[in-house]
Amino acid sequence: MASCSIEDVLAKAERDEAEKLKGITVNKELDLEFDPGNLLAFDKNRIDTREFKDNKREDFIRSLARDNTQLLINEMWKLPTERVEEIIVAKLPDPSTPLPREKPAPKPKPPTKWEQFAKLKGIQKKKKTNLVWDEVHKEWRRRWGYKRAKDDTKEWLIEVPENADPSEHQFAKRNKAKKERVAKNEYNRLKNIARAQKIKVPGMGLAPTPRQPKAELAQAVNVAKISTASVGKFQDNLPKEKTPKNTGKKRKFQPLIGDFSSEKQKQLDLLKVMDSKKPRLDITKAVNKQMREEDRESAQKSKKGFGKKGRRGNMSGKGKGKAGGKGKAPKGKGRKPHMKQGKR
């Protein structure tokens, strides 16, 4: 008797369960394939073509869709859920349908020079704060740059160290040190650029170029000539070469107190020149010189526009290198015959 009732109870429980699940159970011949990661379901069952007639087609499709969606939803509800800000959310697994990529996989980039060095030395990247507390000014200042925290060139009081020369200007010393650091940085930066772009930079003198203009060749010759132990004093000239006259000091200054008579003479000459009506400046000469300069500059620009794309910064040792274009035909009024390269 008791066993009967237990069986009954169990059977009843089963029926109740089935009742509950009646709403959501769907009978299919073959189980569907699910891909919850992509919210995908695939039904492999055969579709009865008889039911697919014109008038009943939409209903058939709808009921088929309803069944399939029910199964998919059942599958989704089996996934683990969690509560994110009062919303119940189901965690999706990875998608199982292999979908092709959009672009090919990125190649791992080779480590940069710094990265290699850091790895070698074991240097870790340290996160630095933007602002630093400046005790002197009692405020937060930036770590580097304009109005930075510890700027030793801006100090108003510098203690002279014990072993220093008393007449040495400490402020000037600091400024000079800063200028040297800046110049060194700039030099290193340009060297890096040259190394990166594989341009040869000479330590001193002129850079090798494929087509050297006349002025640069002349300059190269001059530099080579004075590169001897006695600074070119005993170098013989080539057959048609002329010794350049511009060696030595460019400006000579008379001593302050010396020859009184010559000084007197000089002053009187100066007054005479100021009195005379003839202008000191030969305007035509000046204008021609200016025009020639401009022509040369434009010729250099148009010629070097194609060649010198990669060069940046001062590459040449002396900034004189100009394209040796020959003087153009005279145009405009007041042009006197050509002048050779005069003193600069």
Partner: protein, 302 residues
């Protein structure tokens, strides 16, 4: 020619277009062809509405023939950084034509030409739609999708096209949109329904569907499938994506985590155990022991 970034904003823009380890959502471009009928234009607009915001719609006429010359499509794809495309056109030979396609590395991977036989637009179905950008449920029905190779590829393409962004978790109440594809006798029936979750006896709700959105009756026309090796290359995942397996760790039936250590062979003779000073043998005792042992031995003899 490689484009150099001159500002930080442009640098970010270029970086977003670079290939990445795990890719985000694919954008699609919807292009109108040389001549397109009312049906095709409306169809394109509907698909654009489905795929917003990751879609661009090119409304102007583009005289392009994708099956003959795909360079124009590739150019568009490169400019707009879209890897999926839908091209609609209409002519006498192929009326109401839609070409679904996808790209790999800005070159055409797969293209499927489908003709629209019957089309019901979003506008004609007067029900409320679900919000833009919901990830739709995709259901494919029909054994053709399993048996026929072209259908298999088409299924993959449609999944790629209509599946939304890849998410790690989804709100259960937000599964509102379902796209249902049925394949029968060379025709594909695409329907779009709104999912209504009704109460049922247990936790899982009962589903009711409401007609929504565009519905298409497609007929399969030409196609261009990628060669097998190109398809394989497109699937190749970079090495960083797969998670590294931790070796020598196992879990037993109770859920405890067990590890394995591998040791070198030990010489048990030279094993260093604990030293107990009291037990150490002293020299005096040792001789006494030997003497005692020696004394004992002859006694037994006797």
């Amino acid at each position: 020619r490689k484009q150099k970034a001159k500002t930080r904003r442009s640098k970010r823009f270029l970086q977003s277009r670079e290939p990445k380890l795990t890719e985000g959502q694919k954008s699609s471009m919807i292009i109108r062809g040389g001549n397109s009928s009312e049906t095709v234009s409306q169809a394109l607009k509907d698909v654009y509405a489905l795929k917003k915001p990751n879609a661009v719609l090119y409304k102007r006429k583009n005289m392009v023939r994708p099956f003959d010359d795909s360079t124009a499509l590739e150019f568009f794809s490169k400019k707009s950084d879209c890897s999926l495309f839908l091209f609609g056109s209409h002519n006498k030979k192929r009326p109401n034509n839609l070409i679904f396609g996808r790209m790999f590395d800005f070159h055409v991977l797969d293209m499927f030409e489908l003709g629209i036989e019957r089309f019901v637009s979003l506008r004609d179905v007067k029900t409320d739609t679900c919000p833009e950008g919901t990830k739709p449920l995709l259901v494919f029905a029909g054994e053709l999708f399993e048996t026929d190779r072209e259908h298999q590829r088409l299924r993959n393409l449609l999944t790629d096209f209509f599946c939304g962004p890849r998410v790690s978790a989804v709100r259960l109440a937000g599964l509102e949109h379902v796209l249902h594809f049925t394949a029968l006798e060379g025709k594909i029936y695409m329907r779009s329904y709104k999912v209504l979750l009704k109460k049922s006896g247990c936790r899982t709700p009962r589903i009711q569907l409401q007609d929504m959105g565009p519905s298409f009756d497609f007929v399969m026309r030409r196609n261009h499938m990628a060669s097998d090796d190109l398809y394989k290359t497109a699937h190749r995942q970079p090495r960083g994506v797969k998670p590294k397996k931790k070796k020598n760790i196992s879990h037993d039936a109770f859920g405890t985590r067990l590890g394995r250590l591998h040791m070198q062979k030990q010489d048990l003779d030279k094993l260093q155990t604990r030293k107990m000073k009291g037990l150490r043998k002293r020299r005096g005792e040792q001789t006494a022991e030997t003497a005692a042992a020696a004394a004992k031995a002859p006694r037994t003899d006797e």
